[in-house]
């Protein structure tokens, strides 16, 4: 909560600083600004000043909920979130500074097969799974800033940083109390090849840590739990769990190129390598497992803007490869009592994700800072190929997803009503899950992995209806208050899944 107070104080302080802001920052204008901010989306803070920056701030608080049986086994059957988010941009002398703070409290109902990690989908397969579906209570804080200098000759410099902290508690034996943080720093530079051509480079370093301390409240009942090793391979245990300590580092960087002419061309290439170790216990630590994640992403965006229309065509390719590394360890029970000794380590599993997407949007502008309508189309191809090497098991899926959407900005006097509709269809192209290891009757195989595969290989249709109503406030009517809501419905086909609904509402203000 202390962090929340600090963020709100910062936000309040920023209100005064934005008193001289000129354009009215309606929700539609806010979306348009984000669409134009190609440098900001690339992750290179040095390019922020090339995104036509201006002073703005937003504060909103909201509530979201979800329910329905179309979910991965480790997701909650239902749940809700309370959200507070702020973000803003400001000129400090000739530098431009952006920042954001998000707080989210989430109550997850009846999540299964997870007793050791706040986010079981963050690319860490080595977790503890127990047999009791349980509620989780989680809190998440995200603090982020980016600052860009003006051009010094041909050079612009920038620095970005983020701090994410989460805590989570499982509410049923085996219980766990988890604390997570991720700290990242991103220095960047942009070089002007010509007045209309810029080349950017940024580096990225991040450090991650998550601690999970498990225990039973009912100490008379020892719980069966499983140490997951990937794709159904698991070691069965009995008791109250253990202490898991995850620590990771990552290095990466990005290259960007922008050409501005009749149209804007933006190219980017990012690479990231991450290693995260799992150490079991603090008292007599044992190497549990490690992962080595390597990901790269390439994208091209073309934007063409006239006084009436803004066209954006984007293509993106993403590839992530994770090596799952297991250790062979043995306890030293000799006189030297060296604790756990690591005798060898091997890559035992690989997890590969490949994505390619194409997005097109057209915006009917209203003036330069607002829009009247927009339409978009996107198509995405996604392939997952996970393997346990020896004994060989695999889980593979290939999906194609297309989505069309539209939004209309209705003017109601000085107020605006933004109504949208998105519809998508996912088609599974191929897939399979085959487990060839020991203990095929473990629920980790028959329920967790099998149902996870079924979710990932499901066809579904999805529709979402977002609505935002906004109106000016303040004496000069330059600030905007808004209320938004959305409802989403996903209908699954096959495997016994039915649907998932998501809905939410928020109230906020743009300054």
């Amino acid at each position: 909560m202390k962090k929340l107070y600090i963020a709100l104080l910062l936000t309040a302080a920023s209100f005064g600083a934005f008193a001289q802001q000129t354009p009215r920052n309606t929700p539609a204008a806010f979306e348009l600004r984000q669409q134009r901010s190609l440098w900001q989306r690339s992750g290179n803070p040095a390019g922020l000043q090339l995104d036509q920056p201006y002073r703005y701030s937003q504060l909103k608080a909201g509530y979201e909920a979800y329910d329905g049986n179309f979910h991965r086994p480790q997701e909650g059957v239902s749940g809700n979130r309370q959200i507070v988010e702020t973000q803003g941009g400001i000129f400090l002398d000739s530098c431009y500074l952006t920042g954001s703070f998000n707080y989210r409290r989430e109550g997850i109902k009846e999540a299964s097969f997870n007793a050791s990690i706040i986010d079981p989908f963050r690319g860490m397969p080595y977790i503890i799974a127990d047999l009791n579906p349980s509620d989780w209570v989680q809190q998440h804080y995200q603090l982020q800033f980016g600052i860009a200098t003006p051009s010094y000759g041909r050079w612009s410099w920038g620095l970005g940083a983020s701090y994410n902290a989460s805590s989570g508690a499982k509410q049923r034996d085996i219980r766990t109390e988890n604390y997570y943080y991720a700290l990242s720093i991103t220095p960047g530079v942009v070089y002007a090849l010509a007045p209309n051509q810029h080349l950017g480079l940024n580096l990225r370093y991040a450090n991650v840590k998550e601690e999970a301390t498990m225990s039973n409240v009912n100490t008379y009942v020892d719980q069966t739990y499983y140490e997951l090793l990937g794709l159904g391979t698991a070691v069965s245990m009995l008791g109250s769990g253990r202490t898991n300590n995850y620590e990771g580092d990552s290095w990466g960087g990005g290259l960007q190129y922008r050409y501005s002419g009749k149209a804007t061309l933006f190219l980017h290439l990012n690479y990231l390598v991450e290693a995260e170790d799992l150490t079991i216990s603090f008292t007599v630590p044992r190497d549990g497992a490690s992962v080595l994640r390597k990901s790269w992403e390439a994208g091209a965006t073309v934007q063409q803007e006239s006084s009436r229309l803004l066209h954006t065509l984007g293509a993106r390719y993403y590839n992530r490869h994770i090596d799952g590394i297991q250790y062979i360890t043995q306890r030293d029970n000799s006189g030297s009592q060296q604790g756990w000794m690591t005798l060898a380590k091997y890559v035992r599993s690989t997890f590969k994700t490949t994505e390619a997407s194409l997005d097109y949007s057209i915006v009917g502008k209203k003036g330069n800072n607002d829009y009247s309508w927009l339409a978009n189309f996107s198509a995405r191809y996604r392939k997952l190929n996970d393997e346990y090497i020896l004994p060989h098991s695999f889980k593979r899926t290939e999906n194609a997803y297309i989505q069309v959407g539209a939004k209309k900005n209705f003017r109601l006097g000085s107020s605006q009503l933004l109504v949208g509709l998105n519809a998508g269809y996912n088609r599974n192209l191929s897939g399979g899950y085959e487990y060839n290891g020991a203990n095929k009757d473990y629920v980790i195989v028959t329920q967790l992995e099998t149902n996870d595969y079924r979710y990932l290989a499901s066809d579904f249709i999805r529709a979402e209806l977002p609505v935002t109503f906004s109106f000016p406030i303040g004496k000069e009517k330059k600030n905007v208050m808004f209320v938004n809501g959305y409802a989403g419905y996903t209908k699954a086909e096959g495997f016994g899944f039915d649907h998932r609904v998501t809905y939410g509402a928020a109230v906020g203000a743009n300054f």
């Binding site: 008379y220 069965s236 490690s290 306890r331 029970n333 006189g335």
Partner: protein
């Protein structure tokens, strides 16, 4: 300067973690050469013996037959293995020996390695544990634990003076104690020892008969105890009476207490509870002409040198041991074996606590002339016991001794 040093430390740490992960090689099957050395002078060849590699954590098992000399075993997944060699071998004179040898927690981490294992003529015990119930019954009822021992020989055996002990650590753990180096591999280490009373001929056990030692030899299915209990222990031959007035002495004969924490007295615990996760149990007999007094002989007791605890444990010479069974939480606990492999090369389990399930020794194809069974005894509890059975007394037609108090 200070910040530069901090940045440098962070940089080095990050690079080290990533480099460490990058050094891991992709797993591939290894080959290992096994050489079995017979320590039975009459047996010179170990060809034809069965060798079993078991990686319990991963549920991987590989079985091969040894050839002449060294035998190459391929397709092994790197890991921690229990390696067992067993089988019959015929000496040139015609005598048939059952040979057995093992290595526990052997790390296969290199390709083309060699492992040598001594195989010895198996000591066939006339007395064997045939049924053990340690897990208790929900909710948290543990007083119905019992241990059944069977005469698997063709001779009458007098139980008088037979000792029963549970070994330490009481629950399977990878954090094993450290014992005096001079002990070598000659001892097992007991937390508590009991003895069958008698003058030497009071408690005969005929071939095909078994006797039961219960924690509390009552009918546990009575309302005041636990009607859900799978067993009525009131027909037990012996009980471990800890003088608890709430669980009064039963008609079964009381076992005689021998040793606990360096003393002959029972201590203050209100019951003799062994781990509901599964303990390690031995029966042993002191050879005629020898004296065994771990209470008064300092050479027969020791503390765990790996800890600061002053708790004393009794040393049981391995040559005294007739049978040993090790039980643990589940199949993965074998990585935490407490019992020397020469006594029990495996481990048995029921997979949960308070589930009213026990373990029972398997019967062989052979029966005694009176139809009573002959039980399998290969000194490997993993293979010799059925797991997760509903416990019962005198399974498979084992007989009750005539001196049982119910007769």
């Amino acid at each position: 300067m200070k910040y530069s040093i901090i940045a440098l430390v962070i940089l080095c740490s990050a690079c080290s973690r990533i480099d460490n992960a990058r050094e891991a090689e992709e797993i591939r099957p290894y080959s290992i050469t096994v050489k079995a050395n017979s320590v039975v002078p009459e047996i010179t060849s170990t060809a034809g013996l069965k060798v079993v590699f078991e990686n319990f954590a991963e549920g991987f098992r590989l079985e091969r037959t040894l050839g002449t000399g060294a035998t190459a075993i391929d397709s092994l997944i790197p890991g921690i293995y229990s390696i067992n060699i067993s089988g019959r071998a015929q000496a040139p004179g015609g005598d048939v020996y059952y040979l057995n040898g093992a290595k526990i927690n052997y790390a296969v981490t290199a390709n083309a390695g060699t492992v040598e294992i001594d195989v010895d003529g198996l000591k066939v015990s006339p007395l064997v544990f045939t049924e053990i119930f340690f897990a208790g019954t929900t909710p948290f009822y543990f007083r119905n634990q019992f241990y059944e021992v069977y005469n698997n020989s063709d001779q009458t055996i007098y139980l008088d003076g037979l000792c029963f002990a549970n070994l330490t650590p009481t629950t399977a753990t990878t954090n094993l104690p450290l014992w005096p180096a001079e002990d070598g591999a000659d001892y097992a280490y007991a937390e508590r020892i009991w003895k069958v009373p008698g003058n030497g001929t009071e408690y005969p056990l005929l071939p095909g008969e078994s006797f039961v030692m219960s924690q509390f030899a009552a009918n546990h299915q009575l309302p005041q105890y636990n009607p859900a209990s799978p067993v009525d222990c009131s027909s037990s031959e012996f009980e471990f009476n800890m003088d608890n007035p709430n669980f009064p002495d039963q008609p079964a004969v009381d076992m005689q207490h021998v040793f606990y924490n360096g003393n002959a007295s029972k201590g203050t615990l209100p019951q003799y509870l062994t781990s509901v996760f599964g303990g390690a149990y031995v029966i042993f007999r002191v050879p005629p002409g020898e004296t065994y007094d771990p209470v008064n002989n300092p050479a027969l007791k020791t503390r765990n040198l790996a800890s600061t605890s002053t708790t004393q444990y009794a040393k049981i010479p391995i040559r005294y041991v007739l049978d040993a069974v090790e039980a643990g939480n589940n199949q993965n606990s074998i990585n935490a074996k407490r019992v020397p492999s020469v006594l029990d090369a495996g481990m048995t389990y029921v997979g949960a606590t308070y589930n009213s399930q026990g373990v029972a020794r398997k019967v062989s194809d052979i029966t005694n002339p009176d139809g009573t069974p002959v039980f399998i005894d290969t000194n490997n509890s993993t293979d010799d016991f059925e797991r997760g059975v509903v416990p019962q007394f005198r399974r498979h037609g084992s007989k009750m001794p005539a001196w049982n108090h119910t007769n």
